[in-house]
């Protein structure tokens, strides 16, 4: 098996590294920098493997035709895929460079050392630099996956604090986000979305808008409506006027009359048994909770639609050249798949399109980035070859981004005479978890395509069959349980648009499983920590759980009026980073939850950039706490009603707990993706702590005072 799928796609050494005569090196990754600090990690890995100062490196990221194709930046795969690929590429480059230097310096390879790119030998004081050997030249090798990488004992950089790259620009406001780019002659555009998914544009008398200062064009294609002007303030004015003039047919209504959690149970669906993390076509068996059932318990857990809620609305730039070729700048997580998706809708060859990643605000999955790209292209196509910067507004992002799906998880289990789980059944009901655009044949997952005069409709979602893929991600417990029945249900005809949101279904599945573990333990008067350990064989899982409990001074159930402590554990996708979370909180008389302290213990394999890892884990915890305490996308039959930060509140500084993170470094182990590891454990640890504080079991997100009071009354 290949070390990384990226090496199969791009085996050429020269695609990953260029050594310049100037003593600088360019390292390429096909992943995009999304704020997760992948650039820092890649630079650190490359610098370590080659023994050069990281300051000599420029890391270039996702750009079609320039960097390797590493598909999407998501799924916590970047370190495992790109990190591993870059390390192997550098190991090969190093070997080749040492062989060349051995000839030049008349020295055996084994006697050579590299110091910041200068190679010297033992027997004489001759030396040569990597750039003198290779400056401007190509390696012309296919990366050999058998070449050994540097042993961790020889590390000089990894394992020590690393200087984060790119911070100066961020704190000075000089980093150019996509939204800040200025191309020569660039004009500005806004797309005007319908009042809801189903509305159709009847007519728009746009004469007064066309006559406005700076307006270049009103673009209409079916129900797609956009306006373009010389200056941004002009287009903002024009868009708000056009919005008042457009008349929409809103006869079709959203299916909001039936509660979403009912729809998840009653709508048509496909149900698949999941065995060892993989969906199968075997018939779904009835529940079997084992022969010896001393106690049985069942519970249903509910998660609403959540938003990505990027800090800036999506944006894109598009420009057509005279040749008919198209250039796009996007903050998409996948520049190559976006190129395919655009080619598909526009009927162009992929080779005619170039997509460059430019930094956007954190996206946490599939937000409006790709849709904005098609919006920009549709406007650019209607004007005269000038670059078009198209930006969504806050309302567009809140109301039109593809949300994380609502979910319903039903758990059932029995305990045997020794207090162990004798059988467990887990049913996850959800819409699809991933609807990322790509080469979708006669279909398109790009929003604007659905509204064209000749629409290109979205494809019907199919069950994700990947191991630990979408709806079944983290449904399979990492605990030792004899009779497991895990079923994923892909539910159809649900009301809102959905796609990949950080952690996918792992968030809801871990919420259910790790809450249920506590319910089982407490129903049998067992300690939550001991109960988990009694079912846990995996030493690395045990280690993070014990480390978190120790750091947080785990005290067990205390019945301390209003003050609670809760813990939870997961290994993301059952194959990535391990994370345990302990939460201390207080609940006041109104049902308001105040997070006080959060402890994370995590094992992400070998640690390259400890600060970067810590910020991914803590950022995940805070975002998951926000989802859990505050967030729910609201809608009625007329459309989405959570359209800004007041109707969709998120966590603020006043709500954030103090944080403490313990990293368990495993220098001899492969990288394990960490960006989504804390989401699930966080929500369950909060629910478990609330139960500890006030004896109320929260099974419905968000944990607002209203939902808490309702749970207390139930």
């Amino acid at each position: 098996m290949s070390l990384s799928p990226s090496l199969i796609r791009t085996p050429e050494l020269d695609a990953w590294i260029k050594i310049h005569r100037t003593g600088r090196l360019t390292i390429a990754t096909g992943k995009a920098e999304l704020g997760q600090k992948i650039v820092t990690a890649i630079a650190t890995i490359a610098a370590e493997e080659l023994d050069v100062d990281p300051a000599r490196l420029t890391v270039i990221t996702a750009e079609t035709g320039v960097t390797p194709d590493e598909r999407y930046t998501g799924g916590s795969n970047s370190m495992e895929e790109s990190g591993t690929a870059v390390r192997q590429a550098m190991a090969h480059a190093r070997k080749r460079l040492l062989e060349m230097a051995a000839l030049e310096l008349a020295e055996a390879v084994g006697n050579l050392i590299i110091n910041d790119g200068t190679i010297s030998g033992r027997s004489n004081d001759k030396r040569i630099t990597l750039w003198a050997l290779m400056g401007g030249k190509s390696f012309n090798y296919t990366i050999d996956e058998e070449i050994a990488v540097k042993s961790p004992d020889a590390y000089r950089i990894i394992g020590k604090p690393v200087t984060g790259l790119g911070f100066a620009g961020l704190v000075c406001g000089t980093t150019a986000f996509l939204h800040d780019l200025e191309l020569p002659g660039m004009v500005h555009a806004r797309a005007l979305r319908p009042p809801n998914y189903l509305a159709k544009l009847m007519d728009v008398d746009d004469r007064s808008v066309r006559a406005m200062a700076g307006v270049i064009a009103v673009v209409r294609d079916g129900s797609f409506l956009a306006v373009c002007a010389e200056r941004e303030d002009q287009v903002v004015r024009a868009a708000s006027k056009l919005r008042r003039l457009a008349r929409w047919d809103t006869t079709e209504r959203l299916a909001a009359n039936v509660n979403i959690y009912e729809q998840l149970k009653s709508n048509p669906r496909q149900s698949l048994l999941v065995v060892d993390g993989v969906p199968s076509d075997a018939p779904v068996p009835p529940q079997d909770l084992g022969s010896e059932q001393r106690k049985t318990l069942s519970a249903t857990y509910l998660k609403p639609y959540h938003m990505h809620g990027s800090m800036a609305p999506s944006a894109a730039i598009a420009r057509f050249h005279e040749t008919g070729n198209l250039e796009v700048w996007s903050h998409s997580q996948g520049v190559y798949p976006l190129r395919s998706a655009l080619a598909n809708v526009l009927g162009m060859a992929e080779t005619q399109i170039k997509v460059t990643h430019a930094p956007g605000p954190g996206c946490y999955g599939h937000n409006g980035a790709e849709d904005a790209a098609l919006d920009a292209v549709l406007v650019a196509r209607a004007i005269d070859g000038r670059a078009v910067m198209l930006k969504w507004e806050r309302d567009d992002e809140h109301a039109w981004e593809p949300y994380g799906s609502a979910m319903r998880v039903e758990m059932k289990a029995a305990l045997d005479g020794r207090g162990k789980i004798s059988g467990l059944s887990h049913d996850s009901y959800s819409d699809t978890q991933v609807a990322r655009p790509g080469a979708d044949g006669g279909f398109s997952k790009l929003l604007p395509a659905w509204y064209l005069q000749e629409p290109v409709a979205p494809p019907k979602p199919q069950p994700n069959r990947a191991p630990h893929g979408g709806i079944h991600r983290n449904a399979d417990p990492i605990y030792r349980i004899a009779n497991k029945r895990i079923v994923k249900h892909l539910v159809e005809a649900l009301p809102l648009r959905v796609s990949a949101l950080r952690a996918l279904a792992a968030y809801a599945n871990i919420f259910a499983l790790e809450s249920f573990m506590d319910e089982l333990a407490l129903a049998d008067d067992q300690d939550s920590l001991d109960f988990r350990l009694a079912h846990l064989d995996d030493d690395r899982a045990r280690a993070v759980l014990e480390a978190a409990a120790k750091t947080a001074n785990w005290r067990g159930r205390a019945n301390a009026e209003g003050a609670g402590q809760g813990l939870a554990l997961a290994q993301y996708k059952n194959q990535k980073a391990y994370a345990a979370v302990v939460i201390d909180l207080r609940v006041d008389d109104s049902g308001q939850i105040d997070l006080q302290r959060a402890v994370i213990a995590a094992d992400a394999g070998q640690v390259v950039d400890p600060e970067g890892l810590r910020s991914q884990l803590e950022g995940g915890l805070i975002q998951a706490a926000s989802w859990s305490l505050k967030e729910e996308v609201t809608y009625d039959s007329g459309g989405i009603t959570s359209r800004d930060w007041e109707t969709y509140p998120i966590l603020r500084f006043a709500d954030v707990p103090t944080l403490e993170t313990v990293l368990i470094d495993r220098p001899d182990q492969p990288f394990l993706g960490s960006g989504e590891a804390t989401m699930g454990p966080t929500v369950a640890a909060i629910a478990n702590a609330v139960f500890d504080a006030v004896g109320v079991r929260l099974r419905q997100i968000p944990f607002t005072p209203e939902n808490l009071r309702a749970a207390a009354a139930a």
Binding site: V171, E232, M311, G362, I622, W645, L651, F653, L659
Partner: protein, 155 residues
Amino acid sequence: MTNFTLVVNGHNHVVTADPDTPLIYVLRNDLGLKGVKLGCGLEQCGACMVLVDGKAEMSCSAPAGSFVERPITTIEGLGTADDLHPIQRAFMAERAAQCGYCIPGMIISTKALLDKNPDPSEPEIRAGLADNLCRCGTHGSILKAIKRAAREINT
């Protein structure tokens, strides 16, 4: 469109714009100060903070014309990569940025806070940043950075 003068980062700028244009578009597009970020345009997120009369103010809705004779400082006016303001240095030292989109607004709010209260308690810091949202969950590092900045400024 009319001409009016804004004082930004210590310089006088004559701008030609509709005075009811929200300040942020004038700062970003006429004066090229792209460190001022648009997050919502609704005065709900704090990404667009600038300093006016020593206070952090949102620039995404208030008309540019209302800032005549009220000197404005943007993130660009605080420091540069070669000459960082202590707050910027503290944010760097704590690596207090993930995507970084919210960070200019955070730094401006911090500046207003520390100018008024050089030695704030943790609750005062949280209250001082109450108008700023961060979706990446960088709050922990930002709080550390603000405490570090306060220490540096006070010593």
